[in-house]
Subunit: 386 residues, 2 copies
């Protein structure tokens, strides 16, 4: 008498009216020979949506409007590539769930590498992207065409006054963006509020002297419940931007921050804790993790380790990040790639040819090394680029 | 006249009174020959704290109380292993910053694998861990000694009534924990509120009939600003637990959820989007990412793909997760390992020998396959284990 659970599966499928028919697409590189790679592609269609034995799936809504679909499958230089399209409804308009559909469970399976996202305008509308982007940030900084210069306040262990002293010297030297080192959060020796107050003040004082528009970007990466409070405090004290590491907070925290009208500051994305995604055969491309996703999540600039420095990224990988930041993406503004990590006066020239004007160069320790006069070093960094 | 910036670095170091002298330790496996591995270890001490050229660091507070210290460096079967101790102040009492110190920037460098965390009680006090743990959850479920049984509501594309129908059948069959599939968030065809209301109700109805204490665990993985609201809604409607995927939300969101007195529900950790940490030479061990960190962040159970199923984890890797969940960790309660992903009636026996009693078995699709009677299948699953 009671219907079986398989009858339940058939009977309680959603009505077709719930499906828009629109899909977003994801390109994956798949390991193995043709048969294995195709099996992986088919598995992704199921694992990332219904996570259910395929032979038990009823016909109807679920098969037509929930499962992923292989749109393209081909051999490439590096193995096989599959383009898989997922119904936009599976992402539920949530960034967390979009990430889950594109790579949630399959992050736990070997031989799958997410290369590229292709989002239709209907899903892009759910993720408005950066508030400023390249054009907005250039306007804010009154820097219409050239590369921007950024540096970091460090080392950890200085007092807020010490960090503010450095900020003042940097700002006098014509740096555009002075950010906290991403490790400065709320250590007892440099508490968040005191540090942000003094550093913002120091930069404003320098701006009054130079007539420039340097901004201080406060690192607000912090526990979940404190984020908006810290952002708000930083804004009140005159910070001109905020920095957050989505690897530590989740990408959606960055999206929330960028979208908050009350905050309304430029957002800088830091790559801490995200590196493992690009370090193995399983993972997500540099292009997506440091380009597409920060941009979709509302960052106005994306920091990453440059080629040739103390990290291991290649020129090709950096090129992938740049294209993730700059390539056309519907109505979503382009954002600044911000290479850093071991940049020196010596390697700036090579970078200039590689990056062109739409870039923020982040030089940290290198600025300290040039001479005993930090402000003069900053000016020299600027001259190299103009 | 003006002091140089190097004089600033010397003059503005924090006072020694800011240093407790206590450290937490992290064990890393390092690639390369002895010289290369040692260089990596030294680099970690700097990169994860001051991120500053070592030769420019002044003597004093920073060198004594901020830099990481190599406590041990030795050759092992798989290369070299370094135990590095960081001052507890560097973590600022924040889970986000603790993650940053242990693996933030070095996630971006190859050849570094975080094997193990060793946290002193002073830092554990900042992270109270699970509210229930194994003992608390057993009490709640009136299940004093045996393995617990869990299953998932799916596939995506069913209506809330369809999912509730399955929940009722599962609960009648004696399942302990019925969780949403982690892909069910707020899709238009199964909106969060309707789904949670009907599923919680269905489980309660079954409990009235059976006298058992099955709980429904609502998946509340969602955008940053909605998390506590969804948790609160789920609790009000009678959900007995919540599930969250910290790979999507950040670990700190889970900590906040677990620590919230108003919610006060058991928390189940889902591994979505965390897999890339364990898939290459660079990364974090299964033990830490699926054991230590969920536990530190307040999860009462940690779901992961079991060996022998449709994922690729080995018995050793699963053993590492179990030890992360169960081994002594100061005052932090032990939590349930919850293996799933391709579990069937056939492989339960092998698992019983491997896991012993303190485990939650998560069987999804496998339960549907046994016979046309889902409730009977659940009872059979239970019998296998008693």
């Amino acid at each position: 008498m009671n219907p079986t659970h398989l009858e339940t599966l058939r009977a309680f499928q959603a009505a077709d009216s719930f499906a828009s028919g629109e899909r977003f697409a994801v390109e994956y590189l798949l390991e193995g020979d043709e048969k294995e790679a195709l099996a992986r592609a088919k598995d992704i269609c199921i694992e990332q949506t219904v996570e259910f034995p395929e032979d038990l799936l009823p016909d109807g809504f679920i098969r037509a409007h929930v499962l992923g679909k292989i749109e393209n499958f081909k051999k490439t230089e590096n193995g096989y590539e599959a383009r898989i399209a997922f119904p936009i409804e599976t992402a539920a308009g949530e960034l967390t769930q979009l990430l889950n559909v594109i790579f949630g469970n399959i992050s736990l399976k070997p031989g799958i590498f997410l290369r590229r996202l292709d989002l239709p305008s209907s899903i892009q509308n759910m993720f408005p992207g950066p508030r400023y982007g390249i054009n907005g940030l250039r306007k804010l900084l009154d820097a219409p065409a050239c590369p921007l210069l950024a540096t970091a306040l460090k080392p950890m262990g200085l007092t807020p006054r010490g960090l503010a002293d450095l900020a003042y010297r940097f700002a006098l030297g014509g740096i555009d963006i002075i950010k906290d080192d991403h490790g400065l959060t709320d250590q007892p020796y440099a508490p968040f509020e005191e540090r942000v107050t003094l550093c913002a003040e120091a930069v404003q004082r320098a701006n009054r002297e130079t007539g420039l528009r340097c901004i201080y970007a406060a690192n607000i990466t912090c526990p979940d419940g404190l984020l908006m409070e810290r952002a708000s405090f930083a804004k009140d004290r005159g910070a001109g931007a905020v920095m957050i590491a989505p690897g530590l907070t989740g990408f959606d925290a960055m999206k929330r921050l960028a979208g908050d009208e009350g905050i309304g500051l430029p957002v800088i994305c830091h790559p801490a804790f995200l590196g493992s995604f690009v370090m193995g055969g399983n993972g997500i491309s540099h292009h997506v993790i440091f380009g597409t996703l920060p941009r979709l999540s509302g960052a106005d600039a994306s920091i990453y380790p440059n080629f040739g420095g103390r990290f291991s990224f290649s020129r090709d990988e950096c090129h992938g990040i740049v294209s993730g930041c700059l390539e056309p993406m519907g109505d979503i503004a382009s954002i600044f790639p911000a290479p850093g990590g071991g940049m020196t006066m010596e390697n700036i020239r090579e970078n200039r040819d590689f990056y062109g004007p739409d870039v923020i160069y982040l030089m940290g320790g290198g600025l300290f090394r040039e001479s005993d006069d930090l402000t003069a070093n900053c000016r020299r960094f600027r001259e190299f680029l103009s």
